[in-house]
Symmetry: C2
Subunit: 469 residues, 2 copies
């Protein structure tokens, strides 16, 4: 995550510089990883702890570049009233080998400058306390300074980069699918509508801004299909919206979705292969780039769920594939009593999905070939019977249920003709077999981290009755 090279080169230069030169600024992460002691070093960050002893003053400094703090050792004379938990400081001094077994390097302070003080009485975070996630959620502007949220946001940043790289490395073109749209892809009805604000509207005509009703997107699929007809492989990674009046741990009004679309598919296998590769590649990258941050979640946030071991199993084994028919049979024979009785033709509920995952040994499970009548118009008809199905696939994962949904799309004009006009042009001009899928990014993060509440894996959660900040 951190461009260590600049720091290293600067450090090497500074080692041979005369004392009067300007100090070299290092991020905490760079300082902790330095291999050699060095003088004339400057570190800036926020105080995570202050411990004043008779002979020595200990500080821990964090600047967000890593979960670990840098220990600062200073003469007690450098202490001052403003040097408290939460204050912003700039420390200059010598980077030296630490006698402590917990860290390699520490900073021997020559000067400590309090850049911004912190009123610890009104500051909602307290020194050395592990605040519950529900507590810090009340402070959207300050919770990123807690260990859990700062780890989460570093992981989120790395996961975002890993997902972009996965597609880029595999020849996909990234498309910014529009946020404002006049379509309703899923026909879900739970849409946000957009208008000019009342103030702006006063001065304008009384019609719609776009001449037609406009909504916030629920999926980039239709726009990606357009693009797959030119670039063969495309992806998008952006916000999507649902006006669902839900306070559940599983839903947000604004969330991020990774969507991919592939032309010239031969079977659902093509789509499933990409889903599995994406999950494994991105997760391996995140695990190798932020081991400490992920470790914090696996150790403190989801310890009972053994997310770590489960994750290792998921990465090591091939994902399981079962048909919807098989899934219904498994559920019917289950000893468990479900709230919704499993029946061919009914949608799988979260309770069913979780059972199927457990039944298959707590590994990700692809369920394929869903009933024709359950799925939207654009999914490819399997032309089977009497139980008529389409080439749809859902990926179910431990602890979450559905993580991805995808399908082959109906590329044959006659099959679509009776259904939807706007879709037809794309089938008239060089139509190709194609398919795609979407993956909920927040659910992905919940899955690999074992985070229980979706509000804790997004920087600024939006849901009904809440739009803080």
């Amino acid at each position: 995550m951190l461009g260590a090279r600049g720091g290293w080169q600067a450090l090497r230069r500074c080692a041979s510089l005369p004392r009067a030169q300007r100090a070299v600024r290092l991020r905490v992460r760079e300082a902790l990883r330095a291999r050699e002691p060095a003088g004339g070093v400057k570190v800036q960050g926020w105080v995570r702890s202050v411990r004043s002893q008779k002979e020595v003053l200990f500080l821990h400094i964090n600047d967000g570049s890593s979960l670990e703090n840098l220990q600062v050792v200073a003469d007690p004379s450098l202490e001052n009233r403003d040097l408290t938990f939460g204050s912003a400081v700039e420390v200059q001094g010598k980077l030296v080998k630490s006698p402590h077994r917990m860290q390699d390097m520490e900073l021997k302070a020559e000067t400590i400058h309090v850049v911004g003080s912190c009123d610890t009485w009104s500051y909602p975070l307290k020194m050395k306390e592990r605040h519950p996630l529900e507590y810090v959620r009340q402070f959207p502007h300050l919770r990123c300074r807690s260990n859990t949220l700062s780890s989460l946001l570093r992981i989120r940043s790395e996961a975002t980069a890993a997902i972009h790289s996965f597609f880029q490395d595999n020849g996909y073109v990234h498309i910014h699918t529009p946020i404002i749209t006049s379509n309703d892809c899923e026909g879900a009805g739970e849409l946000f509508q957009i208008e000019m604000s009342h103030e702006a509207r006063k001065s304008a005509e009384k019609t719609h801004f776009f001449n037609v009703p406009a909504f916030l997107t629920v999926s980039g699929q239709l726009h990606l299909e357009v693009m797959a007809g030119a670039f063969t492989h495309v992806f998008t990674f952006g916000p999507t919206f649902r006006a669902e009046n839900s306070q559940s741990r599983r839903h947000l009004a604004e969330f991020y979705m990774v969507e991919a679309e592939l032309s010239f598919t031969e079977s659902l296998q093509d789509i499933m292969q990409v889903m599995e590769d994406l999950f494994k590649t991105a997760t391996n990258t995140v695990l190798s780039k932020c081991p400490h941050d992920v470790g914090l979640f696996h150790k403190y946030i989801a310890p009972a769920q053994k997310t770590k071991d489960r994750l290792e199993q998921m990465l090591k084994n091939k994902f399981v594939i079962i048909s919807y028919n098989e899934a219904v049979e498994i559920l019917k024979q289950a000893s468990q009593t479900f709230t919704f009785k499993p029946e061919w033709g009914c949608d799988l509920r979260t309770e069913h999905e979780k059972y199927l995952v457990r039944h298959c040994g707590e590994v990700p499970v692809f369920v394929i070939n869903y009933p024709y009548d359950l799925k939207p118009f654009y999914m490819r008809d399997n032309e089977d019977g009497p139980q008529h199905t389409v080439a749809a696939v859902d990926l179910l994962v431990p602890g979450i249920g559905e993580l991805c949904g995808g399908s082959l799309r109906e590329e044959r004009l006659p099959f679509l003709e009776s259904r939807l006009q706007r879709y037809l042009d794309l089938r008239k001009f060089g139509s190709v077999p194609h398919g795609g899928f979407g993956m909920g990014f927040e659910r992905y993060l919940q899955c690999i981290l074992g985070a229980d509440n979706i509000k804790d894996v997004i920087p600024f959660p939006r849901f009904s009755h809440s739009c803080l900040l």
Copy 2:
């Protein structure tokens, strides 16, 4: 862009396989770059030209992986009625060295399968025609199959990746700042407001979905400032919105912005350095990754403007820095008559910005220290006089005018106290000097490509009276 490794390995494997094995699928880009002839190759794409001679049938195939087509050479017996311009095909055969000087490799077809035919009479694109940009803009679902738009979208994809990499390599944490917000950062008034759609609202209570009025974001700055208080360096790259009733070549209702925020800044120089590095690094990456695509723009779309030479100058030279005071003096002494008379205390207009860039030799120009009364509350007071200024900076570039805007933010509590309550908490708890900037991504693309109309550098343009697809 393309993951050539997979293809190469497959190609190497297939060279030693017996004939009966399945053909190896190659993207057009991979086929064109193959170093060795190879049998058992399969290429899928859309026909860009058909030329039937007595002895031989020539096809050009494009699959969106590159601007260049792959030439297919076939026996005339393989021709059929559906093999037309625009149709989707799968060609199997041998990859051989081409006798043509225009390409290294061509495909000797053994089979040609028309996967999807194309009704050339109603297809709005015509073979070997260079359609004007205004013409293809009418077909949002098909224009990505024209050379210009497909080049643009590959460049856009690479530029997006380059910008992400630039920040990631320099230790910035990526933040998904929210799209829906209850703030109005710029106080612009030209906001889109969000409500549940009429359908969804029927069944729900009659209050706001979020309890408060909610809008589409105009900037992620406030949310980035929150995050810069924990991670020191952060960035975001997402859609922003203006309900501006404008049909101009310069404005969209939905556009993309790159925004960065840095803590512990010492002067405006810190911000300008990042802007300049970002511009140069991203542009060099784009030029090296898609030379042909960029070349198409410089050759056919903006030839008179000599965008290519100008761009080289921009990348080679240090950007110029002038103060707002100097800028006003330059404008006052200009021989040109402006529609808006330049005067200290007035905002710079596009005509002024373009003049300043020309005056400085058609290189990017930073204008710094704008009048206090012109800029929003959060910019840092320079405490100068009698001409009172703030530490703001705009980056002006040739052909466009303003590309980036940034400032040091006011970190001192007393300076803000009288202005805005919601901003204050961040200054109470470990406040640090910081600053940041935003860059319009579409303007950036217009700048490096010489594209005249902003609607041609975004996949699905949204502006007043238009929300196609």
